[in-house]
Symmetry: C2
Amino acid sequence: MNVMNASPRRKELTRLAAQLFVQEGFDRTTVRMLAQEMGIKSGSLFHHFRDKQEILAAVIEEGTQNALVIARRALDNGPSHPEARLRAMARAHLETLFADRNAHVVALFEWRRLAPDASAHLSHLRDAYEALWLGVIDDALAAGVIQGDRFLVSRFILGALNWTVRWYNPEGPQAPDDLADELVAMIMAGRGDQA
Amino acid sequence: MNVMNASPRRKELTRLAAQLFVQEGFDRTTVRMLAQEMGIKSGSLFHHFRDKQEILAAVIEEGTQNALVIARRALDNGPSHPEARLRAMARAHLETLFADRNAHVVALFEWRRLAPDASAHLSHLRDAYEALWLGVIDDALAAGVIQGDRFLVSRFILGALNWTVRWYNPEGPQAPDDLADELVAMIMAGRGDQA
DNA sequence: GAGGTAACCAAGCAAGCGCTAGTGTGAACG
DNA sequence: CGTTCACACTAGCGCTTGCTTGGTTACCTC
């Protein structure tokens, strides 16, 4: 078994697993299906991962880590005006969501299949990510750019954004950035200044 | 097997199944678990349902039917102003969502486990429901109450509303109607008139 | 060229899965 | 009183599941 999470082989296997988990769902995906997709036999799979659970955890960790990196970069190199930061954050969210779509779909819809210990570890990552959002939302509230309860607003926004994986088609005419801008425009309080 | 969907026994079994499906997920819920929860042996289960798939379909159909009934009632007996109709629709959505919470969580997150024929049948129900939403949204757009693309708006709203099942606690201080009103207030375009 | 190691394979085990077959029982009905 | 029917039971079949075991290969290092 490979202890390092960064082994290139393991990373590739994780990517393939994410794809299958999205296609079939975690429970319906058998170790034999995973092995075949990876071009190995089912027994060999357990050289790379302790058990099936660990594959799921690896997939979700990968996606969540990337989300954190991208969001932090968007805020660090990004604009300072609260409204623009809100837009940058929404854009960053959709950017990761569709760059690592498989991993994020798994994270969103198979989270409950995680064993308790893995879930606890990954919850910290997710909390760190949501903290970034709450910071941006607090600033926007303070500046009067948006209005409402901070938790309600953040959950409505994240709900609307996360739900896009259910209907958004990247081949279509709309770019992810357009979606993000439209959503932010939609929730801007009392300022009829959208395009 | 019971052909009528309205047998009271079958309805009760469907309710119990919904609960288990939410707790464990459809795939992880075995027919033996279902039977035990129902106080019978696993073999007896197939007197009521042809197979496990049919139980899933029954759960989802129940929830979706109720959603349609409640939404239609809210619109028929409801207000005529576009903004008020939007609010009524959002309230109705959350009302069903938490009245039949288990059934709706299953419908939202286990839909893909449906066999193709059951899925086709139930899609019509869901489409009818979404048509109601689009009608209300079109009126609101025409009246200038909200702005944006009709599909984008509807998907953002439904995403935000559906996502509430992930975090909303009915025991908490906030009533579902408050949530609905806050969301509608949030998306009202260029009219700083929320509470 | 000996030793170590990452990667893989063949074979299979124990447990659990959905579902079936055949039977029993008590209430309802003519 | 005999028939029917909804409902439940026992027993188990055939298959798949996640995972283990013991051994093989190819490459790297000193």
